[in-house]
């Protein structure tokens, strides 16, 4: 998969001058996860292997309920794995003898429905990480939080509660809350699922802007192909339950990206190439879903 784009600078030249990222390289080797509730084996992830380079945006596309989230939960340390191993920057997160990774501020999750604490203001939410880790005093943490929020264009909303702002703003604040801890990896679990396409495209631009600034490794789960191509360096299409790798596509759209690329020719070619595989999985997931309901 390599598209030559005439008249466009090559992706490497197009990058903003940010130091080459050194942290956040993830290697996932032969990971399998079997749930065993009441003696019925359910295989969620089957022999998944992927290599994610430091500072790469890795998009996992698959139908809902296919087991992608299990993979993310294993990296974050919410779930154990049955076999295989996951390493972050060479260090073992989980693997033989250590089924469950420790939770830590080097891998931060942004959740599907958002998990800003509704009882804290946006600034308090952002300040939470540095404060509980004892890195900063409460006062300093709040100050830094206000600064970071302002940087993300949310300066006026630091004193608002999450219930008072739109879901789009809440999601942006959640990403600020994650990045203030300077994590090696950002794990996003379908964060824009409930939004309409237009709000989503604005969210995408804001995420891309953040990424261009920080070059943090992003592990992003979605079922929206457009989203995957627009944001990602690499798109992994996975099968429906159990989650297996079906197709890997490298996306060589230049960065920084903007919404106009969504309707560009290169984009269209990429979509038409991956569409088939995704559509196939959608139908499979649909049929198995229908069978289960009956």
């Amino acid at each position: 998969m390599n598209i030559a784009i005439p008249g466009q600078p090559s992706p490497v030249q197009g990058l903003a001058p940010v130091a080459k990222p050194t942290r956040g390289q993830i290697s996932i080797k032969n990971v399998t996860k079997i749930y065993d509730p009441e003696g019925v084996n359910v295989m969620a992830v089957d022999d998944c292997s992927m290599e994610i380079a430091a500072g790469e945006v890795c998009m996992i596309v698959g139908p809902s309920g296919c087991g992608k989230t299990t993979l993310l939960n294993a990296i974050a340390g919410f779930h154990s794995i049955t076999s295989g191993e996951i390493r972050l920057d060479g260090e073992l997160l989980c693997g033989p003898g250590k089924p469950k990774a420790d939770q830590g501020a080097d891998r931060i999750v942004v959740f599907q429905h958002g998990a800003l604490f509704p009882w804290k203001t946006l600034a308090e939410n952002v300040a939470y990480g540095p404060m509980v880790q004892g890195k900063l005093s409460k006062k300093d943490a709040l100050e830094k939080a206000h600064f970071k929020l302002a940087e993300a264009g949310l300066g006026d909303f630091g004193g608002k509660y999450p219930g008072e702002v739109s879901s789009g703003m809440a999601r942006r604040a959640e990403i600020v809350r994650a990045l203030i801890n300077d994590p090696a990896v950002l794990l996003l679990d379908e964060p824009y699922r409930a939004m309409d396409a237009l709000t989503k495209s604005i969210m995408h631009e804001s995420l891309l802007e953040v990424y261009d600034r920080t070059k943090v490794t992003i592990f992003f789960i979605t079922h929206d192909l457009d989203e995957a191509i627009f944001l990602g360096d690499k798109v992994y299409v996975v099968t429906t339950r159990p989650c297996r790798l079906k197709k890997t596509v490298e996306v060589k759209l230049p960065r920084p990206r903007n919404f106009e690329m969504l309707s560009s020719e290169e984009f269209r070619v990429l979509v038409s190439e991956i569409n088939e595989a995704v559509h196939e999985e959608a139908i499979k997931a649909f049929q198995s879903g229908e069978r289960e309901m009956a």
Binding site: W119, Y128, R177
Partner: protein, 296 residues
């Protein structure tokens, strides 16, 4: 629109939003255009009139035993009440004060025990498994059934009454607090874990504030239940208090103080529950503001 004069049928694009009293006045004026206030006044008048007609106007056979509205009001506000209780007699306030003191102690005790207990039950699986069955076994026994036992176990007038009111609110508070903790979305615990919280941080920043809305719903129910049991306990055993006032008036054959006691009880009960709600709203600005935006 070049003209500066504003004609009556031309509403300016955006006026300054009125606040406070002006807003209330605007709402009031607007409501006068709908039938609601008239119907409400009519409803209350109708109720009073029916009450008066039955008891005092027509003096129907059984109704005549019940004091009518005119009798009650003239007695309630009389400087020299013929049946002993009015807003000018210190005894009236003594009854209120005694009941309120009992409620305050019982409610404080129940909250101080119930909230930590509920938080623990919601947070720790093992603690829940060991304590919840006992709670569930004791809960179906009506509080009133404890009365004789309470009188025998705790001598005197005061302690049994407070014990019963405490017990009643304790069940409600504990249960609601526990449900509150259980209702917290798993994602918040995970997010806290991701951000590097210790167990104590999770407790302080997630468990307690997350359970707060349920806790206050519970407290509001619990204060109602406390009044309910207090009245019963005071009726059965007591020397003072509104419940005692009602029953002793009945025993002594004076009906007006009985009704005054009922109405006062209703008002004080309502007032305490409003108080609890106000404290809750104070503590949970995030909850209140989010609900307000949703238009609720």
């Amino acid at each position: 629109m070049a003209t500066t004069t504003v004609t009556t049928n031309e509403v300016p694009q955006r006026r300054v939003a009125p606040t406070g009293l002006a807003l209330a006045w605007h709402r009031f004026k607007k409501s006068l255009r709908s039938p609601t206030p008239y119907l409400t006044v009519f409803g209350i008048f109708l109720w009073f009139f029916t009450y008066w007609l039955l008891c005092e106007g027509l003096q129907l056979p059984r109704f005549v035993k019940i004091p009518g509205p005119v009798t009650i009001i003239s007695e309630w506000f009389s400087t020299n009440p013929s049946q002993g209780i009015s807003i000018f007699t210190p005894e009236y306030y003594h009854h209120i004060a005694v009941s309120c003191r009992r409620i305050a102690i019982a409610f404080f005790l129940a909250t101080a025990i119930g909230v930590p207990l509920g938080l623990l039950m919601g947070w720790s699986r093992a603690f829940h498994d060991y304590t919840f069955p006992i709670l569930e076994t004791l809960r179906p026994i009506p509080i009133l059934a404890w009365v004789p036992l309470a009188i025998l176990m705790f001598q005197g007038y005061e302690t049994p009454v407070i014990f019963l009111a405490t017990l009643a609110s304790l069940f409600v508070t504990t249960l609601n607090t526990m449900l509150g903790v259980q209702s917290i979305d798993e994602a918040y615990f995970r997010a806290a874990g991701c951000l590097g919280s210790s167990k104590w941080d999770v407790f302080k920043h997630v468990v307690v504030p997350g359970a707060l809305p349920y806790i206050f719903t519970g407290l509001q129910i619990s204060i109602g239940v406390a009044w309910f049991s207090l009245v019963a306990a005071e009726m059965v055993s007591g020397d003072y208090g509104l419940g005692y006032l009602i029953l002793s008036s009945y025993v002594n054959g004076v009906t007006v103080p009985m009704v005054i006691g009922m109405l006062t009880l209703g008002f004080v009960g309502w007032f305490t529950s409003v108080l609890v709600r106000m404290i809750g709203d104070r503590l949970m600005q995030w909850h209140v503001r989010a609900l307000a935006l949703q238009g609720r």
